[in-house]
Structures are given as structure tokens and as C-alpha cells.
Amino acid sequence: MSTGRQSPPRWAEALLERLLAARERDTVVGDLREEYAESVVVQRGRLLADLWYLRQIWSFVPRRLVQKRIEGKMRQAISFFTFACACWLATMEMVLRHPGYGLRIGVALCIALISLATIIGRLAHVEGRSEVWRWAGAILLIGIGGQAFLRNVRAAHFEGFVVVISVALVVQGVLMLMSRRMTA
């Protein structure tokens, strides 16, 4: 049994406090501290107990994002970015016409459409009405972004802008999926 610290790290408690509303700050942090000391650290040791505590903190993040409306703003900003990138990529493909440009224009237009739908949906407050489209759009974005990222990593010529755009697409897709979970 550990004879050292029997309470969660102070920085972790401070982080959790920042995620909680004033009304529940004391009670939730107290509950977790009690469980950490009386059960988790005794059974799992300090390192695993600290990881357990971080997992507890993480479970409060989606709600905080919704409360602060950060998630919506992030999704909107990324959608603007990916929309602009997709339009730019489609235009460049149309001008340069490298082999296989048709497929790439199709993918770029598909991204532009999803991003535009996200932007308009949020502005018109109609987002999340269609579960099927939201899931399809999110999975498509994650798929395209993930594939672009992996192909770029494996390619002989590493291109920074592809990494930025592919990561943005994956994040946009994840935020689309999270939006339902956080408002449910």
C-alpha cells in the first residue's frame, strides 16, 4: 500500500474545479477526493489512481464545452476553414488538371458541402435535426481527413498544409459527433 500522497494531485483538482459550476464545485471535488483516498489509490496504487482521476475530469469536459458554447464556436470556425480549403483545392485541381483530378474535385466539393451545411445549420439553428446526415457527414470527414493524414505521413514529400487540413477535418468530424452527445 502506498504511504505517500493519499489525495489527487492539486493541479488536477484545480483543473476539475475550473470545469465545474460554483454550486457543485465543493461537493463533486469532495466526492472524488473521498473515493480516490478511500478506494482507488488503495486498490490500484497512486499512478493508476491519478489516471482514474484524469478520466473523471475528462467526463466533465463535454458539458463544460456546451455550457461555454466553445464546442459550437470551434465547429463553426473549423467549418469555415475547411470550406475555404475545399474551395481552394477544387479550384486548383480544375486549373492544374493533374491525373485523377476529377475524383479530387469530387472529394473537395463533398467537404465544402458538409462544411457549408454545418455553417448554415448552426446559423439557422437547425443543426442536429437529421441524425443520419450528421453521422454520415462526420464519418466522411473523419475518413477523408484520416486517410489524407496517413497518406501524407507515408509520402516521400511531406506537406505541412495537408496535415493542417486533414487534422481540421478529423476534428470537425469528431465535434459533429460530440454535438449530439453533449446536448442529449
Partner: protein, 109 residues
């Protein structure tokens, strides 16, 4: 009839009823996990408790903290009359929609 309760909300309310006077956050979480037979996150339990209280389905009171909690207070929950009514409505609705229904696998058995 008010909005019907979701499964998770029902589990949280039933956990509070089951725990009687010992229904504080973590105890409710463990009880709900046992009832649902799956892990549930702390965030979802506290969010649900908060929402149920805002809807007047549960009430809470603060109790003094202990040294192991760093002196932080404990919040005990109890199901309000409106919560009992909502649980009863949820059970009636479930009973009504299942009335006379047998799943194909049960018919074969």
C-alpha cells in the same frame, strides 16, 4: 403527463430511492452502474442529477465535509413528489407499450 424520463434518468432516480438517506453523488453513480450493469461516467451522473434537480424531480441538502474530503461538503439527494410521479408515468408507459407483445425468440421458447 410531463416529458417521459430517459432510461438513464430513471436509473439515477431509482438509485436515489434505493440508497434512501445515503444518496450522494458517488453512491448514486455506483448504484446506477450496478443497476445498468455498465460503467457510467461521473460527468453524466452529476449532469443528470443537476438536470433532475432543475426540473424539480429531486431535491438536495448539504452535509458537512469530513477530513478525507478535505472538509468539502457532501450533497445528499432525495426524490421529490414530482420525481415519483415521473417514475410512475415512465413505468406505466413502458407497461402499456409492452402489453401483449412477445418477442419472436420468446415465442419459440
Amino acid at each position: 403527463m410531463a416529458d417521459l424520463l430517459g432510461t438513464f434518468e430513471q436509473a439515477v432516480l431509482l438509485a436515489i430511492l434505493h440508497l434512501e438517506t445515503e444518496a450522494y453523488g458517488r453512491a448514486v453513480l455506483h448504484q446506477a452502474q450496478e443497476m445498468l450493469k455498465r460503467n457510467v461516467s461521473a460527468g453524466s451522473v452529476y449532469t443528470t442529477l443537476d438536470r433532475l434537480e432543475a426540473r424539480g424531480l429531486v431535491s438536495s441538502r448539504l452535509a458537512e465535509g469530513t477530513p478525507v474530503r478535505g472538509g468539502r461538503a457532501r450533497r445528499y439527494y432525495s426524490v421529490a413528489g414530482k420525481g415519483i410521479e415521473a417514475l410512475s408515468d415512465a413505468r406505466s408507459a413502458l407497461t402499456a407499450i409492452w402489453a401483449g407483445v412477445q418477442l419472436p425468440s420468446e415465442v419459440q421458447l
